[in-house]
């Protein structure tokens, strides 16, 4: 589904990713862990095409297409979704309105028929309910005045409504209380399927108890320093990243 090959990327002229290679097959969930500042969010922005994140070498194929050649909205239409580490506030625009523009923006790009107001309302209400989100939340401006945990839950609501083929979750577990973590994990698991893949960025092995990954990678020194099964996450939790950071620096 997603093949990243020898990816080099820079921000403000500073190299952050240095030859990252990673492949995620359809239906798989991969976890990416790594120290603060190692480039995990950078990877998510490079994949989603944010301005200022310059790819200096390497390639990324997504469902057979050259992902890096697409605009951000085209990547979204191709099925890529990013749950932001720091979700953005949009004053004056309700969650409902925002979601409607997103749903129909994707449909238009895909040449599908747009949802009418009734169909849309039904869809959103149903997804919101599954995530324990109130109608009141849907009427509020996007992320404005939301608590940290509410923002994260809102990201998952958007993912549930947009049903992407590939989701990158950037520290979606940070700031969630135990109950919210379970709800979010349920939401994510509900989306798992043979045709859907995910890249879950996290600092905590706790999340991986709920969302069980097929592979775990350690990002250090701008590349994948180590890959393994779920047990790698457990090892990291007890040993820390020191060994990988040293290895990457060497």
């Amino acid at each position: 589904m997603l093949e990243i090959e020898n990816l080099h990327a820079a921000v403000d002229g500073r190299a952050i990713l240095n030859g990252l290679t990673l492949a995620v097959a359809p239906g798989e969930v991969h976890a990416v862990m790594g120290p603060n500042g190692s480039g995990k969010s950078t990877l998510s922005y490079v994949l989603s095409g944010r301005d200022g994140y310059e790819v200096t070498a390497g390639r990324v194929r997504f469902r057979g297409e050259d992902l890096l050649a697409l605009d951000p909205e085209e990547r979204a239409a191709a099925g890529l979704f990013l749950a932001f580490q720091y979700p953005v506030e949009i004053p004056g625009v309700t969650n409902m309105t925002f979601l409607k523009h997103a749903v129909n923006g994707l449909k238009v790009q895909r040449g599908e028929e747009e949802l009418d107001a009734m169909q849309f309302l039904k869809l959103v209400r149903q997804k919101a309910k599954a995530l324990g989100m109130s109608d009141d939340m849907l009427k509020r401006a996007v992320n404005v005045g939301f608590s940290g945990g509410e923002k994260k839950r809102n990201e998952i609501l958007q993912m549930a409504v947009l049903e992407p083929a590939f989701a990158v979750l950037d520290e979606t577990d940070s700031g969630l209380d135990i109950d919210a973590l379970k709800i979010v994990a349920d939401g994510v698991n509900a989306l798992r399927g043979p045709e859907r893949s995910m890249l879950v960025i996290t600092h905590y092995q706790r999340l991986l108890d709920y969302i069980v990954p097929d592979r775990v990678h350690v990002l250090a020194g701008g590349r994948i320093a180590q890959s393994g099964g779920k047990e790698l996450a457990t090892r990291l939790e007890s040993e820390g990243y020191a060994a990988f950071v040293e290895k990457a620096a060497a």
Binding site: S48, G49, R50, D51, G52, D71, P72, E73, R75, A76, A77, F81, L82, F84, P87, V88, E89, I90, P91, G92, V93, T97, F98, H101, A102, V103, G105, L106, Q109, A141, Q158, L162
Partner: protein, 488 residues
């Protein structure tokens, strides 16, 4: 620019400004230029009472002694006031007619603009849809007013000002020029001399006007100035909501629009005046477009009266406009909600004046300025607390949003307080449209232009939600359309 590139640009612009077409209709015009004979011609054409002609002539003579104001932050080449037609009317419109008699070509014009002039079409619409009565002004004259009969049954007078001068001269004479005197300012004085038409509204005591009233202005003829005059009088305890919309064809020359609007609210009366201004803004290089030099002022004459101005200004090459409130009555309230968008080479200098004279008077100013391209957008506002305006209160919030790095936004607040019990609060912010917000939208599948429209509409929400429902939707779309091409 090479000829082909120019053609491409023009075709693209055509898509952008969707009201840029022209109606082919036979016109009657007065000769170009301005002198006493032209003033007399206009007055005679309308068969006006002598006092009206005298007033016009006084205004004209006073105008000759005045010079154009230069304090606004706008630049434009000198206007040749002798190179303008001051009167242009579709032939065969001897005053207002019943709808069946209106030239079908004109009806089609308004249909194309989405303005329903056929009452049955409005009635046949969605059940429960609010009714809107329309006065349509085409160049210099009013061509039709709808729902007159129904309004009359409530005692409401809604007609063109020419018609009001025939049928209700005493009312017009009593109020005309009492809020904006003919000596007021260069453009208002010019308007007083040559105004050709506009709307007149009178709401009798205690009447809540049963429908929205609206005037739709269309400049069609070339080299023509439009000088309309609107007068709205709300008697004691009455209420009216009035809407004004405007468009013009695209032309390479600039066209002058110098209107005057006067509102009078007596005791306990409330007037809501909403404008969606979409005059042709000129092309991307700044060629053509309307010069919109307008004087709008409302007097809260009675105690507990209220006037609210809501404006969405997206069009015009230059906007010079300060809808104001004179708060004479005790406890009277003035409000100003404004969205001003300037894109490409547009220049807007707009704001309000709140003049507090009575006790416990309150005013509220919410201004949202959006600048894109190379545009210049200035908020200019005056809040004056007079010596007798005990406990006067004002709250002002001015927010500016910049799109791109070649545009400019300025905030020029003037505050004058002559008594210690008055309080004036002013808040101002300037921000750039967030790269993070745009990216967030795009990541969700929302295209860049749609994202800009969405974010800007959110930024303006406080103002847009003050518009009557049926106009709010139009205004939201207009916000998007007027910012097309502002990013990327």
């Amino acid at each position: 620019m090479a000829a082909t590139a120019q053609t491409v640009a023009q075709v693209r612009d055509l898509g952008k400004y969707k009201h840029g077409w022209e109606t082919e209709i036979e016109m009657e015009t007065a000769p170009k230029g301005l002198n006493e004979d032209i003033v007399r011609f206009i007055s005679a054409r309308k068969d006006e009472p002598d006092w009206m002609l005298d007033w016009r002539l006084k205004a004209y003579r006073h105008w000759l002694t005045m010079t154009e104001p230069t304090w606004a932050m706008v630049d434009y080449p000198a206007i040749d006031f002798q190179d303008i037609y001051y009167y242009a009317a579709p032939k065969n419109t001897e005053g207002p007619k019943s709808l069946d008699e209106v030239d079908p070509e004109l009806l089609r014009t308004y249909e194309k603009l989405g303005i329903p002039l056929k009452e049955q079409e409005v009635l046949a619409g969605v059940q429960g849809a609010p009714k809107v009565a329309v006065d349509a002004v085409f160049d210099s004259v009013s061509v039709a007013t709808t729902f007159k009969k129904e309004l009359e049954s409530h005692g409401v007078i809604f007609c063109s000002i020419s018609e009001a001068l025939q049928n209700h001269p005493e009312l017009v004479r009593k109020y005309l020029g009492t809020v904006v005197p003919y000596t007021d300012n260069f453009y208002a004085t010019l308007n007083s001399a040559v105004f050709s038409d506009g709307s007149f509204v009178y709401i009798p005591p205690g009447v809540h006007c049963p429908m929205e009233l609206s005037t739709y202005f269309r400049i069609n003829a070339k080299d023509t100035g439009q000088f309309e005059r609107t007068l709205i009088v709300a008697e004691e305890g009455s209420y009216v909501s009035y809407l004004e919309g405007c468009t013009a064809p695209m032309r390479d020359e600039n066209q002058l629009h110098a209107a005057v609007v006067e509102l009078v609210a007596l005791k306990d009366a409330e007037i809501k005046y909403s404008t969606v201004q979409n005059w042709y803004p000129g092309d991307e290089t700044g060629k053509g477009g309307i010069y919109n030099f307008v004087t709008k002022r409302g007097a809260c004459r009675g105690d507990d009266s209220k006037i609210r101005w809501t404006q969405v200004e997206t069009g015009s090459a230059i906007t010079w406009k300060y809808p104001s409130c004179i708060l004479q009555g005790d406890n009277s309230v003035g409000e100003f909600y404004s969205v001003a968008i300037a894109n490409n080479a547009q220049q807007a200098d707009t704001g309000t004046k709140m003049i507090h004279l009575g006790r416990n008077t309150r005013s509220r100013i919410i201004s949202k300025g959006i600048s894109a391209g190379r545009a210049r957008n200035t908020y200019r506002g005056l809040v004056r607390m007079g010596p007798k305006a005990l406990n006067g209160r004002n709250f002002t919030q001015c927010d500016s949003l910049l799109i791109g790095d070649r545009c400019g936004a300025h905030t020029v607040p003037y505050i004058e307080s002559r008594n210690r019990t008055a309080k004036v609060e002013h808040e101002a912010t300037t921000s750039r449209i967030g790269e993070d917000q745009l990216f967030y939208c795009r990541q969700r599948g929302i295209g860049e232009e749609d994202a800009v429209a969405l974010i800007v509409n959110g930024f303006c929400k406080e103002v847009l939600q003050e518009l009557p429902m049926e106009f709010a939707v139009e205004a939201q779309k207009l916000v998007g359309i007027s910012l097309e091409g502002s990013v990327g």
